[in-house]
Symmetry: C2
Subunit: 380 residues, 2 copies
């Protein structure tokens, strides 16, 4: 039950202004923010969807390089939140690995390889913390209308839609619900995926080891690897971590807790002081990995498990008690041979790290929450 006083906060209605795969990019007006400013300012009135990406990673052929995978975002026009849906046309063998200490998930138990259902129809990620799990109903409705789901003789289909949420209630006073899920699913496309401050990443933040006042903007990123063998492994990451985002190729911090005088405070250094414990459960990185490899359900679970290594490499610290870090995997199975599960899992870790780096590089800031692109010499 949601108390009325909170229910009444759900005032913004979703409208069909979607940042969608192929063309969309959610663009928050650029705001000049000096590194080191503190208090959270009110949200800007209405971040607008606008065609075309800008800067690095406005849109990328990441996870949609896997045939049969489509991605849709819905971003609320009047609040920095939304949801993102990854649809596997015809279903895909699914796996999950939940390693954060504060997860918010749904339909993850059925993904245990011991359990019956093998194929997943879609996976969603939503803002809104635990309230955002309601997003799932809209994804279900869209898939049911298309007739996609687990067939139950005579009574139609039951779409299998696991998902997870991120906490963005400190920047968004709207909680995504079924309408968000429906719009995002309806908008899903197979082309380049809009990245940055869009969908479930619209209100995402990173670098919260010193609290929200020193945070930076997180977002959505995607990346993929395509091999000569025909193997494709892609990832989509919604990055809302307490930790800093680090480029594992160089060890350098890209986005993270800011220092008073500019630059980064460095989570690794903060850890060695006496950091205030981060607020519990107010963070999370959620990742969806997809591959065209034919995998058993147990092997799909192993890929999800290995993919967490990409999260560990690109987010420092990760898997904390304050993060609900979760990885889902989808194996469409059109490629029957020429790979090993270890290769798929290791590549998944690689593209997950890349997707996380892209997420913060693509993001646009909010008032008092600068993005990488707002920093002087942002290193892109």
């Amino acid at each position: 039950m949601v108390p009325m006083s909170q229910e009444s906060r759900r005032r913004a209605r979703p409208v069909a202004r979607c940042a969608r795969g192929g063309t969309g990019s959610h663009r928050t007006p650029l705001i000049a923010i000096a590194a080191g400013t503190a208090a959270l300012a009110p949200l800007p009135a209405a971040p607008q969807s606008a065609p075309g990406g800008s800067g690095a990673g406005g849109a990328a052929e990441g996870i949609t390089r896997v045939e049969g995978i489509r991605v849709g975002h819905f971003t609320y026009p009047n609040a920095a939140t939304g949801c993102t849906v990854v649809i596997a046309d015809g279903g895909a063998v699914g796996g999950v690995d939940v390693r954060g200490g504060a997860p918010g998930t749904v339909e993850t138990d059925l993904l245990d390889p011991v359990n019956t259902v093998e194929r997943v129809d879609a996976v969603f990620v939503s803002g809104g913390s635990a309230y955002g799990l309601g997003t799932r109903g809209g994804v279900m409705r869209h898939l049911e209308e298309r007739g996609q789901g687990f067939p139950v003789g005579g009574t139609g289909v039951v779409p299998i839609v696991p998902g997870a949420i991120v906490f963005d209630l400190r920047v968004a006073d709207v909680r995504p619900g079924p309408d968000c899920g429906y719009q995002a699913a309806a908008a899903a496309g197979a082309g380049p995926v809009a990245e940055g401050s869009v969908g479930a990443g619209a209100g995402a933040t990173v670098g919260k080891m010193r609290g929200m006042a020193w945070a930076m903007k997180g977002g959505v990123g995607t990346s993929s690897a395509t091999l000569e063998s025909g193997l494709v492994v892609g990832a989509l990451a919604v990055v809302n971590a307490v930790g800093d985002v680090v480029d594992p190729r160089t060890g350098e911090t890209i986005a993270g807790a800011r220092a008073e005088g500019g630059g980064f405070a460095d989570a690794r250094r903060i850890l060695r002081g006496e950091p205030p414990p981060p607020r519990e459960g107010e963070n999370t990185t959620v990742v969806i990995v997809a591959t065209n490899a034919r995998l058993t359900k147990a092997r799909a679970a192993k890929v999800a498990r290995m993919a967490h290594d990409g999260l560990a490499r690109a987010v420092v610290p990760s898997h904390t008690p304050s993060d609900g870090d979760t990885v889902f995997s989808l194996a469409t199975g059109t490629l029957a041979e020429g790979f090993s599960v270890g290769q798929v899992g290791a590549l998944a870790a690689e593209v997950v790290a890349e997707a996380i780096v892209r997420a913060v590089r693509s993001a646009h800031g909010l008032p008092s929450i600068p993005a990488v692109r707002d920093l002087p010499g942002d290193g892109r």
Copy 2:
């Protein structure tokens, strides 16, 4: 049952020549090996224990910075294998997280926070693959003689000794057994810990993405962080991974699969080709984390879980189907406050990565298996 033909291979008897905490260092004679040589040559006759470390990380005050934690190695004089024991004097709250696809472990189920026993007396790591689990009996015997263990009224104590093995059967034709565990436990000291090609790391190798012919020497490493608050977090790692060892501070490969013309083949590049699947179950990194923080059993398990992030950062790829990657945690509990479990877990990940880097930097080569120190311009 071990077939006689295999049983008869257990010909080397352990002797009391121990590389032990504080003074010991296992030194394999330096052998000039050109990067790129291939076939596995026979083992050298008898790697000798010798006093004093040499080069970087011959011995370090790593995990023994945690009061009450002692470490002992036993290295076989006639074969590149052995075992390593970490003793928690008076016991410590224990946790474990097994994330590799090919683990070899014992007494890990009791570490499930749901189960009864909270305190662990020692953790061992042994060479010898699954055969090496027998090492545990000797550790038990040593602890029983000291009267340390879970008290069972009237009949003495039952020492609680979880452990894990690494696969080194391709470089060692001896399998560590109870005598190894007894000797290592008896040798355990609270001073600096010998690192490199010693104990369970004597036969350890890394960089096997192209097979053993292009591998490098792994080993044992240790590291710790001591904070002004009094919090101490240490790690000991036995590094025997299929993957390359990477310094997460720079992204550079330190030890890994070698290329024909010298230098590294780079596991991240190999992954994008069509690598032969690594041989299953012939690798593994085993880590023991210790802290003086007072943790519940569930929180000790969370620390073990977070510590895997250090493994992910320093070993690429890690947690593969060919690795039995396992992290144990020990919380001695002398520090009651001034920390959070997230801080302990995140620091654990940091010192685990450092310990892994130290392991390969401290190692000495075997014929056809060069160590970092054998490479031209080894980057130390």
